[in-house]
Subunit: 474 residues, 2 copies
């Protein structure tokens, strides 16, 4: 970590706040176009919600985002450009599911032993969601024909009317908690449909081989931001916690403890909640600020249990364990490409995360291992290593996988999501269109802010006129 | 405003952040018990969401909170203690209501000309809400018998099933937008019931003479915090924007631009969103932080039109104008006790505020005056003075009247609302019990934190043990 206190006055065309995929992409695009950029990062690492863990022997695992699918064209392209290869997620053998206390072993998307009525009910619900999702345009969900109706209710309310059986409801709740890191009660139906459509479909979100979990990155997804950072002309300034962004008539001044950066423009590439925690001078219009008050991060922890080998594979098991009410909603085999060591990643999400975050670290470890033993037998209880990543506790993330919208937010405040305020432009996966909420959304947003800035004529810029009607102040 | 930069090292038993009613009450109670307190306020005034406006000739108006009722015992008692008198709200003459474009003149709670079916429908809905509200305990709404069901749906969803007629829905939506500053789509049903019960009843929230709007304060509600501040042993430190609160094993250090305050304990007495914008060292547990991400402030602006006299009174009108879709949801006669000058306060709340905040100041003025003219005739369009208070734009408030909960928040994160984290205790009307969300809730919360602190034995304090299980970290 380079000491920012030693840093002289920093100057660049653009000051970018946040060195996740969004900020790194914006910086890359702008520097390739010949602009100078200072990229500031609060942590001692780049990558944001992508974070690595050393398994020993040169092997690594991901403590944050790691999956992509055939529709994840943006992250695949960026990975290729820095020499990171994808490989197929391990997806052979039986899956295990604990649904309201009953154990099911199965292959495919859902346990057929749940019975034909439950299966038919779950199936029709997924089809309905799929059909509704297609009516929500990812570039402006608030513009959907039925946006107001979709945004006035929770997904839970929709389920009461559209899912008949208790077991299908429980299974769908589990799937949503795993994919959205929030309970159906928290989510606007509009957000559920928007994220599904932006991702490539609702079922696509849930699937492995046929979905967004089809591939992983050799060396870890977190190696992509690290390589992006290494190729930038200037070093990323780590440990730079931005506290204030001041806008002047012809410039921005970005300040933190012990540093000051001057630029013509600023890009804020952090989650909405964290963007709201920066102080702006002058203060941002209320219309923008109230949006940042209303898009909380999901609740997610990831726990990795490491074994000498993926012993479950020899027993004909995929390693996938799902549970409607256990300590995690889903665990996957996330062993490295070579298959050694064996790694299980337990995704403690939604209501599970909210319970588990209130326990001690030791209690959480015991609970997760209990859940794995329940599915995969006693060997699962004796890992060689165990690590947890509590994204709720991380000061510069404060939740995963992404920021979601409770009811009423997009239809009231949606237009503030991407609209620049004077010299400040907004990035981050929540502002992406293609694969909003995933790695692709971050890249999409980084490219968009770069395009926005390159299109601005600095010489003719009038900050007052630049505040669009959507968010202008009186 | 006293310059904080000149301030030597500040030391006290307790550092209180925020000089609204909550922080002032906590400071008053603690200093009366012999403790030393430093009260820090970001603005150049005390009072938070209570703010005054000079009408000239020594007369004043309130730009923020101003009403109270017979059940508002806490604010009435505090007002008396500083010599501020209440008086009856003007409530004679006909009320006007514009419901889906139609104009109604009436007396009582609702326009009887809406027709018997609509009236019966509205009446049964209010009774149902009243009955459900009584089942939600204000000290822990998440403990209600049906908390999970109430907290999984929006008030909009509840209305779809429980209000049959379109006009009753529109009228109820208007009432909720006026009382909660949010659209039914934004609100957890549980929050609607909780606020109603904590306030003294749902109908009580909507009524003037029989409700929480029965009285106002002579000299303005804002004169109460001013008088409270004047009686404290130490001056309130104005212009002190707190940026960081550091917890040590035996103390807290509260820092802002140009000042540092040392105490044994800290009280944070600002809205939840703003509490989340302070940086804490060590960082707060995720369980608490995610709550602060999830309780946005309502959307409210207040516009005052001032006339030589309240001309509407002579015409047999009360000055009350409500509208389901106009630029404000309700306007009231808020002339001073003496009846001169005439003042109309237009409450631009919920969806109205979200539209209006995106207009220019001139456009807003024109829209509000149009709405008043529509109700009260052309004289309403020629005020001697006009002032707007946009609470969304206020950096150190960011919305009014109070912070509300979308679905899923209280049942998941409710216990974090009042639970101290180490040496930091939480106040503010959102953490109050009696009249949560109003002036009474702020006082209630200030008294509670004072009790909490007085009950702690500083000598035997172990900060690790003091973090309760509800929010402890591993």
């Amino acid at each position: 970590m380079r000491q920012v206190a030693d840093e002289p006055r920093m100057e660049a065309d653009v000051i970018v706040v946040g060195a996740g995929l969004a900020g790194l992409t914006a910086t890359r695009e702008l520097t390739e176009a010949g602009w100078t950029v200072r990229l500031l990062e609060a942590r001692d690492r780049v990558g944001g919600r992508l974070k690595g863990y050393q398994l020993g022997g040169g092997r690594v695992a991901d403590l944050g985002g790691e999956y992509f699918g055939d529709k994840s064209t943006a992250i695949a392209e960026v990975a290729r450009s820095v020499g990171v290869e994808g490989f197929r997620t391990f997806d052979a053998g039986q899956r295990l599911s604990f649904i309201e206390g009953r154990r099911y072993a199965y292959t495919g998307l859902f346990p057929w032993r749940m019975g034909p009525a439950t299966l038919a009910d779950f199936g029709q619900a997924v089809l309905k969601i799929e059909r509704l999702a297609k009516t929500v345009p990812p570039e402006s969900p608030w513009g959907a024909a039925r946006a107001s109706t979709f945004d006035s209710q929770t997904f839970w309310s929709w389920m009461q009317r559209n899912v008949a059986t208790r077991t299908a409801k429980a299974f769908l709740t589990m799937a949503v908690e795993a994919a959205y890191c929030a309970h159906p009660a928290d989510l606007s139906l509009l957000h559920v449909l928007y994220y599904a459509n932006a991702s490539g479909g609702f079922r696509y979100l849930l699937e492995i081989s046929g979905g967004i979990q089809k591939y992983r990155f050799d060396g870890g997804a977190h190696s992509i931001p690290a390589k992006l950072a290494a190729r930038l002309p200037d070093e990323v300034r780590l440990g730079a916690v931005v506290r204030t962004i001041e806008q002047r008539s012809d410039s921005v001044v970005v300040r933190g403890d012990g540093f000051t950066a001057h630029g013509r423009w600023a890009v804020v590439a952090v989650p909405l909640t964290l963007a709201g925690r920066i102080r702006y001078e002058p203060a941002l219009p209320g219309f923008r600020d109230q949006l940042t008050q209303r898009m909380p991060a999901g609740s997610a922890m990831k726990c990795l249990a490491v074994y000498d080998e993926p012993f479950w594979r020899a027993e004909g098991l995929s390693g996938q364990v799902t549970s409607t009410d256990g300590p995690f909603r889903v665990a996957f085999d996330t062993s490295p490409r070579e298959g050694r060591p064996g790694v299980l990643s337990a995704f403690v999400t939604g209501s599970a995360a909210r319970k588990m975050t209130r326990l001690t670290r030791a209690e959480r470890r015991a609970a997760v291992l209990d859940g794995l033993v329940r599915g995969l037998g006693p060997r699962a209880g004796r890992p060689a290593d165990f690590v947890e990543q509590n994204w709720l506790d991380e000061e510069f993330t404060r939740g995963c996988y992404h920021g979601f919208a409770p009811p009423g937010v997009y239809t009231s405040f949606g237009p503030a999501l991407r609209t620049p305020i004077g010299r400040i432009h907004w990035a981050g996966t929540e502002t992406g269109v293609h694969q909003m909420g995933s790695m692709g959304g971050a890249i999409d947003s980084g490219r968009r802010v770069a395009r926005e800035l390159l299109a601005r004529d600095a010489d003719e810029f009038d900050p007052a006129a630049a505040i669009p009607a959507a968010v202008r102040r009186g």
